[in-house]
């Protein structure tokens, strides 16, 4: 069995890190601390700069300014082969001409370890990732999920303090992906290595991570635990990129006790003021479809609006009713109980609680 005691996660800190390529700024000056031993995700759409951050941490890209610190040591000037990090590539980058165990033991070979000892360690790691007895195959002879695990074992073999994962699950089908999420999470717990996981898939980020950084256009917009990111997004981008939102645009009428009252064509809505709004300003009220419900049982202070049901989608555990209220499209989720769809026809009145809604300045939302 693998000597897990040897592995120890370390903290990663970005200190004013920025990355420019010619005129293009891929990453604006960024400060970020990833705690030792946590499962940390960087979530963002493609082209937001998350892979560039990862390459800066791994040493493949030199920062234009700022420093990278691992466990308090400045590694900015070190090449990738001298950092206590290991990277799992999007393509996995398994060496096609080597056997599985040679792949796993490659880092040890590079360190000059004797062949017998390498083989022993490789076998132990293959056991950790449930690939006992597959060591003498070639990567091409394995399934997608198995190759995934070889890549993990190969990266863990060098006992890194930080494991960097660049969307490693994107090539797998849905079922396998869900299985591998659990497996990666378990490996992270067992080894205590700091995981930095890059993804554009919010589901992956939300299910696996201790904390998530949401990145947009070269800037980190929010760093928080998954539930905070989801429930209390700080920017319109985070609000709309992670999960769905119903959006109503209007003008602020008043602000009081942390709540803003916004007049919209759909009605006058109260929502938590997340932007320090002032009366008269344009604003967008956002609320999640699952916090929006038919108005029948809504409390008296709830925001209400009437809309027409355009279509109902069956999602399995719940139903999505697609609504249209004037110019705004909205949706609400109802549990898939007997007769749930019956009342959802024609014009309906929908409601949401002010504390479930947030008011931002308009603009800066995620596309789609």
């Amino acid at each position: 069995m693998l000597d897990q005691a040897r592995m120890q996660g370390r903290e990663v800190a970005l200190d004013g890190l920025s990355m420019r390529f010619g005129d293009f700024t891929a990453v604006h000056p960024t400060d970020l601390t990833i705690r030792a031993g946590e499962f940390f995700s960087i979530l963002g759409p493609s082209g937001c700069g998350k892979t560039t951050v990862l390459r800066a941490i791994s040493g493949f890209a030199a920062p234009s300014a700022g420093r990278v610190l691992i466990g308090g040591d400045d590694v900015t000037a070190l090449g990738p082969n001298r950092r206590p990090t290991a990277l799992i590539f999007q393509s996995l980058a398994l060496f096609p001409l080597m056997t599985v165990w040679e792949n796993v033991a490659f880092g040890l070979e590079a360190r000059g370890m004797a062949r017998a000892e390498r083989r022993r360690r490789a076998d132990a790691l293959l056991e950790l990732v449930a690939l006992e007895g597959q060591g003498d195959k070639r990567p091409a002879q394995l399934s997608g999920g198995q190759r995934q695990r070889v890549a993990v074992a190969r990266a863990l073999a060098v006992e890194p303090a930080v494991l960097l994962l660049d969307e490693p699950l994107s090539a797998l089908d849905l079922k396998l992906r869900q299985h591998m999420r659990a497996e990666l999470k378990a490996i992270q717990r067992r080894t205590g290595v700091t995981f930095v996981y890059i993804t554009h898939d919010q589901g992956e980020a939300l299910t696996m991570s201790d904390r998530i950084a949401v990145m947009n256009a070269g800037r980190i917009e929010q760093v928080d635990a998954a539930n905070v990111i989801y429930d209390r997004p700080e920017t319109p981008f985070v609000a709309t990129f992670v999960g769905e939102q119903n959006v109503f645009e209007g003008r602020v009428e008043s602000v009081a006790e942390g709540f803003a009252a916004v007049a919209t064509p759909q009605g006058r809505f109260r929502a938590i003021d997340r932007a320090g709004l002032a009366p008269g300003e344009a604003a967008a009220v956002m609320v999640r479809p699952e916090r929006t419900a038919p108005a029948a049982n809504a409390p008296s202070d709830a925001n209400r609006f009437t809309a027409r049901v355009e279509r109902i989608d069956m999602e399995g555990p719940y139903l999505i009713a697609h609504l249209r209220a004037g110019d705004a499209a909205a949706a609400l989720h109802v549990p898939n109980l007997a007769g749930a769809a019956a009342g959802l026809t024609g014009a309906v009145e929908a409601a949401f609680r002010p504390e479930d809604a947030a008011a931002f300045r308009p603009g800066g939302r995620a596309r789609g």
Partner: protein, 294 residues
């Protein structure tokens, strides 16, 4: 003959035009006939040359047949050991030239493969503008007439380094353009190398040298082998560049050339037969290997 007249793709069978399945595709027939004539054109001279190697006539000929003989291959001596017919064993310059040709070709492999590989690696990491300029320069020897490569190399080495023309300058002159061919082969191969592989090796703590040796080179080995064969053949068969750069020395091919100037001898036919047999055998092996793989 013009290209158009003889490019007989099958004539379209328009509705009502062709008489069903019994129609003869004259265009295809003409194309086939043309291919037969072309193959005859290619092979007949070679066949005649091969045939003359077995004619006892000491002028290479097939029309003036003086009986079958293997003397041009084996030579013939009388009881006293006096040479009666000079065959290949007596023509020691051919053997000497062959050895030198092989030596030169091996030298070309040793020089052209590293140069071509290095340049391919450099080009694979250069930006578009500077890359395409360097690329044009490095491909230019392929497009330079062989005799120009020969004289320019020979002249430079005497003027700048005091080295007289000889096998060394031939190796250099050959390598200058054969390295271009090798470079193109390596570039094609490198395009299929996932750069993440090299990065993965570095990321796992490999030194640059270790990563190159363990990841990049193994990926390139098949191409190194093919490029070596190509380099060997290109060098071995070359005449026009060699002729200008060899000085007073000689190779098998320039020796064949100087024999041809002095007059035709059936021993050259004998060499031709050996070349043909070797080529056909190599081609057969190649075909068999391909069959087995595919």
């Amino acid at each position: 003959m013009t290209a158009a007249a003889d490019v007989p793709a099958p004539v379209p069978a328009r509705a009502g035009a062709a008489a069903g399945s019994g129609g003869v595709d004259w265009a295809q027939v003409a194309l086939n006939a043309y291919i037969v004539v072309f193959m005859l054109y290619l092979f007949l001279p070679l066949a005649l040359m091969a045939l003359a190697a077995f004619n006892a006539n000491d002028t290479p000929s097939v029309t003036d047949w003086r009986g079958f003989t293997l003397d041009w291959f084996t030579g013939r001596t009388d009881e006293a050991g006096e040479v009666v017919v000079r065959g290949l064993p007596q023509e020691t310059r051919f053997l000497e030239g062959l050895m030198r040709s092989v030596g030169i070709a091996l030298g070309v492999i040793a020089l052209a493969i590293p140069l071509g590989l290095a340049a391919a690696l450099v080009l694979s990491r250069l930006g578009a503008a500077s890359g395409s300029f360097l690329y044009t320069l490095l491909v230019s020897p392929i497009l330079t007439p062989g005799i120009v490569l020969g004289v320019s190399t020979m002249t430079l080495w005497r003027d700048a380094f005091g080295v007289e023309a000889g096998p060394l300058t031939v190796v250099v002159a050959h390598s200058s353009f054969i390295a271009s061919y090798c470079m193109l082969m390596f570039m094609a191969r490198l395009q299929r190398l996932d750069p993440a592989l090299e990065e993965a090796a570095l990321d796992l703590g490999a030194s640059n040298l270790f990563a190159f040796r363990r990841v990049t080179l193994p990926f390139l080995w098949p191409t190194i082998a093919t490029a070596s064969v190509v380099a060997f053949l290109q060098s071995f068969e070359n005449y026009n560049t060699t002729f200008f750069a060899i000085g007073s020395s000689f190779t098998l091919v320039t020796e064949i050339g100087s024999r041809m100037r002095f007059g035709l001898s059936p021993t050259i036919n004998a060499i031709g037969v050996l070349f043909i047999v070797l080529t056909v055998a190599a081609a057969a092996v190649w075909v068999l290997l391909r069959r087995r793989q595919g």
